[in-house]
């Protein structure tokens, strides 16, 4: 409890205020702006990180999505632990989803596509128990202590799977060029 003994002011003082509510609110806008500040800091520490996104709907810090250039089996897990450790700001990030760099992580539809096509729940979900959690997070079983989850939604490499793995379908560029030329004659 803070006891105020004295208040000093400028002449014609202004009182600066805000409120916090369900996103989007002012802290969410600030969070989105700080997200851009975080990207170069993370990439300096982990050059394999392509992009990093804290969706405002996730209270600006509780869920992170990361895209990376994967270089070896298990690499996505190293990135998860790295993010949880590198900055105090991510100490209470409950969920981290890691994707390959072909996924635009700022588009939820693409993230869901990666989750549903590249994840096996038992193999690719990591749960760490008894980690620090914001004490206002009433979903954790004990105030201040709870679990975190990492989801590896990258393509699985030979050491991670014994199955033949799918490749995203994409049209050949020469076909696209030819259709571009044809387009005006197609009457579409």
């Amino acid at each position: 409890m803070f006891t105020v003994d004295r208040i000093t002011l400028r002449r014609d003082a202004i009182y600066h205020s805000t409120y916090t509510g369900k996103p989007p609110d002012e802290p969410a806008v600030l969070g989105a702006a700080l997200n851009e500040v975080f990207v170069p800091i993370l990439r300096k520490q982990f050059p394999e990180i392509e992009d990093f996104y804290l969706p405002p709907e996730g209270c600006s810090y509780r869920l992170a999505v990361v895209s990376m250039k994967k270089q070896y089996p298990g690499h996505a897990k190293r990135v998860m632990f790295g993010i949880w450790s590198v900055l105090r700001q991510f100490m209470y990030t409950k969920f981290i989803v890691v994707t390959d760099d072909d996924v635009d992580i700022r588009e939820w539809k693409e993230v869901v596509w990666a989750l549903t096509t590249r994840v096996d729940a038992a193999r690719d979900i990591l749960v760490v128990e008894n980690t620090p959690i914001d004490y206002l997070d009433f979903a954790s079983p004990i105030a201040g202590l709870g679990s975190k989850m990492g989801i590896d939604a990258t393509n699985k490499w030979p050491a991670e799977t014994s199955r033949a793995w799918g490749r995203p379908i994409a049209m050949q560029s020469e076909v696209k060029r030819r259709v571009d030329l044809l387009w005006k004659d197609l009457g579409l």
Binding site: D5, I7, T8, L9, I14, Y15, S17, Y19
Partner: protein, 305 residues
């Protein structure tokens, strides 16, 4: 990593200077009608924020003569401007440039030879080194003083944000503390619930600097009151430095100076050795008495509950 270290010109002097720049650019509107800091302001700010609208200066908060500034950081562009971005620059790129500078400061790579030192290091060092804060006397934030019976938080237009909230809440309180073993002060934004004319409940999470300073104080100087200062309406760079991921080797005041393009001016509190931003609009000085704590809330939170 390339870091743009173009010499920054001074972006603004203080919050008022920043506000007049915003007003000229159409990024701040004055609200002349009477609006109640109890709930109504939240609803007005919420609508304006959701439409990407301007910062708001409520000139007639109901029952008060002190105007209220709201929605200051309501768009990415205003956050970037507050961090010293060039108004002509793309705000997202400007923010990434600041991140790149922080990345270098956090973990400086040793210069690779003389040429590298000259081209890359000297400009960074030149920017950061002269940015230590400067103590001034006769600071604007101490033009008026309320003491004794004059200390009444009800004289400030503190918002009650949501129905069901336990009471008025100070939301942008830049809280300044110092641990017993440290030279450096901690700056953090902690929300504070008004519970009496001169009492607030400070909500600092255990991993934050203010809480750590208080713990160390309680161990080293058991039984002694812990001095605290809360600055309201400091210059925007200092406010944002308190929430930015700055490295431990840099003080928030230095980083704010770097963003703003001028040294941060600080003033010694009247009643303690703490130093507050000299241009702050309002400063609360006081102490935490040992053993005095209270349960906070309930309050509507940024999680939507």
């Amino acid at each position: 990593m390339d870091v743009k270290v173009a010499k920054r010109e001074m972006r603004y002097r203080d919050l008022r200077d920043f506000l007049s720049q915003l007003e000229r650019a159409g990024e701040l509107k004055r609200v002349r009608a009477e609006v109640d800091p109890n709930l109504e302001m939240t609803e007005v700010c919420d609508r304006v924020l959701k439409s990407g609208g301007p910062a708001l200066l409520f000139e007639k908060p109901k029952g008060h003569s002190i105007p209220v500034l709201g929605n200051l950081f309501g768009t990415t562009r205003r956050v970037a401007l507050a961090m010293g971005a060039d108004p002509r620059a793309d705000p997202l790129e400007a923010l990434r440039d600041i991140g790149a500078l922080l990345a270098v400061l956090k973990e400086p790579e040793p210069p690779r030879g003389f040429r590298d030192a000259f081209e890359r290091w000297i400009p960074i060092v030149k920017q950061v080194m002269p940015m230590s804060p400067k103590e001034v006397s006769g600071a604007p934030c101490q033009e008026l003083t309320w003491e004794g019976k004059g200390v009444d938080l009800a004289r400030l237009p503190i918002q009650t944000c949501w129905p069901g909230d336990a009471g008025p809440l100070i939301t942008w309180g830049l809280t300044i503390t110092r641990g017993p073993l440290k030279e450096r002060q901690n700056l953090g934004i902690y929300r504070q619930q008004v519970i009496a004319s001169n009492k607030l409940i400070m909500r600092w999470l255990p991993h934050r600097g203010g809480a750590a300073d208080f713990r160390e104080h309680s161990e080293a100087r058991a039984g002694e009151p812990f001095p605290v200062a809360v600055a309201l309406g400091a210059d925007p760079a200092t406010i944002l430095a308190a929430v930015a991921p700055i490295p431990d080797t840099l003080s928030e005041y230095q980083f704010a100076g770097l963003l703003r393009g001028s040294r941060t001016e600080i003033a010694r509190c009247r009643g303690s050795d703490l130093h507050v931003p000299a241009s702050s609009e309002i400063v609360l000085e006081g102490v935490i008495h040992p053993g005095e704590s209270a349960a906070e809330g309930p309050f509507g939170d940024h999680t939507g509950y």
